[in-house]
C-alpha cells in the first residue's frame, strides 16, 4: 500500500506538466498531532508534507516522512521514531483519496467550501479507510485545505508499552493544513 501511494505521487508529479491547469501541489504542507492526558501533552508537527490535489477529479494524495515530525522533547522524538513508528522499517506515512462531494466546490470562484474527504490512510505499514470533514479555501492560483480528525494508534498496530500508556490519550487529534499552489511548468 505504501508503494502504491508513492507511485501515485510520482505519477501525479510527472503528469503535472501535461495537464497543469487542474493540478495543485505543496511540498511544505503542515500536519500535527496532539494528545492530552493528565500526565502530559504529546505533540509533534511536520512542515514538510508533500501533497497533490487534482481539482478535475478531486483526487488527493499526501505523503510524509515520519522522521520529519518535530517534537518539543528530544526523548519523545527518539521514542516516536525508534519504538512506536519504527521509522527505519516504515519511513513514510501517506493518504490517498478523494473529495467526496467535489461538485460542492467551485474552483473558479474564491471562497470557503466545506467538503468531505474519504480515502485510505497508511501509518506504520497498516492501511485503513478514513473519512474527514475538511474545508477548502479557493484563491487565485492557490487553494488552502484544512482538516481535523482523530486516529487511534492501536488501529495502526502502534504498540505503546503499558508503563507509559497513561501518557497517551486513546485517540490522537490530527490537524492538516495544506497550502496548495498551481503548478506552472518551467518553459
Amino acid at each position: 500500500m505504501n508503494n502504491r501511494i508513492f507511485c501515485l505521487i510520482l505519477v501525479l508529479a510527472l503528469t503535472l506538466s501535461v495537464s497543469a491547469q487542474n493540478r495543485y501541489f505543496t511540498k511544505t504542507g503542515h500536519i500535527d498531532f496532539f494528545s492530552h492526558t493528565s500526565v502530559e501533552d504529546v505533540k509533534a508537527a511536520n512542515d514538510q508534507v508533500t501533497s497533490f490535489l487534482d481539482t478535475s477529479t478531486g483526487e488527493l494524495v499526501f505523503s510524509v516522512l515520519n522522521r520529519s515530525f518535530q517534537f518539543p522533547k528530544p526523548l519523545m522524538q527518539e521514542h516516536f521514531n525508534e519504538n512506536y513508528m519504527e521509522s527505519e522499517k516504515f519511513p513514510k506515512s501517506g493518504f490517498t483519496g478523494k473529495i467526496a462531494d467535489l461538485k460542492a466546490v467551485d474552483f473558479t470562484k474564491a471562497g470557503k467550501y466545506p467538503v468531505k474527504v474519504t480515502g485510505k490512510l497508511t501509518i506504520h505499514g497498516v492501511t485503513k479507510d478514513v473519512e474527514a470533514d475538511s474545508e477548502l479555501t479557493v484563491g487565485t492560483d492557490k487553494i488552502d485545505g484544512t482538516s481535523v480528525f482523530s486516529v487511534k494508534p492501536e488501529d495502526y498496530d502502534i504498540k505503546i508499552p503499558s508503563v507509559v500508556k497513561a501518557n497517551f490519550a486513546e485517540s490522537m487529534k490530527i490537524t492538516v493544513q495544506m497550502n496548495y499552489q498551481l503548478y506552472i511548468p518551467k518553459k
Binding site: Q48, K73, L75, K92, N179
Partner: protein
C-alpha cells in the same frame, strides 16, 4: 567497620540521587543540540545527493537518513511560509532537494536568509529525513 558501611551507604545515596537527576534531565529537560553545534557527518553536493536517492532510495536512506549533511548547490528558490519557516529549494523545484529552516532558526539567521538569491551558490547544514518526490532536509541553517 561501621564507618565504612556509613561511607558506602552515603556514596550509594549520592549515586542514586545523581542517577535520578540524570534520568529526569535526560527525559524531561534535555534540549535538542542546536544545528550550529552539530558536526556534519557527510559533505555532498545537492545534485549528488538527489542522484543517490534517485538511483536507489533504500540504500540512500540507509546511508544518509538521520545524518547531518553539509550541502552545496545553487539556489532554485527561497520561500517563507505563514509560520515563519523558510524553504530553500535546490536542484529542481519539484524533484530536487528541499531544505527547511524552522521559524526559530530563521529569526536567528535573518541576515543570512535575506542574502539568499536564486541562482547563487549556497552551503546549507541540516538533517536528511529521506525522500518523497524530493529529498527532505530539516533543521537547516545557512552556513555561507
Amino acid at each position: 567497620m561501621s564507618k565504612k558501611i556509613w561511607r558506602l551507604a552515603g556514596i550509594g545515596v549520592l549515586l542514586a540521587i545523581a542517577s535520578a537527576g540524570f534520568a529526569y534531565w535526560y527525559g524531561f529537560m534535555r534540549k535538542e543540540k542546536p544545528i550550529e553545534k552539530m558536526k556534519p557527518d557527510i559533505e555532498i553536493s545537492a545534485d549528488s545527493l538527489f542522484s543517490a536517492f534517485s538511483a536507489n532510495e533504500k540504500s540512500a536512506t540507509e546511508k544518509f537518513g538521520g545524518k547531518i549533511l553539509l550541502l552545496k548547490s545553487n539556489i532554485v528558490s527561497v520561500e517563507k511560509d505563514g509560520s515563519g519557516n523558510v524553504t530553500v529549494t535546490l536542484v529542481d523545484p519539484m524533484m530536487g532537494v528541499t531544505c527547511t529552516i524552522d521559524s526559530l532558526e530563521a529569526v536567528k539567521q535573518k541576515t543570512e536568509i535575506a542574502a539568499l538569491t536564486e541562482g547563487q551558490p549556497v552551503t546549507i547544514k541540516g538533517r536528511c529525513d529521506g525522500m518523497l518526490t524530493d529529498v527532505k532536509i530539516s533543521k537547516c541553517m545557512v552556513v555561507k
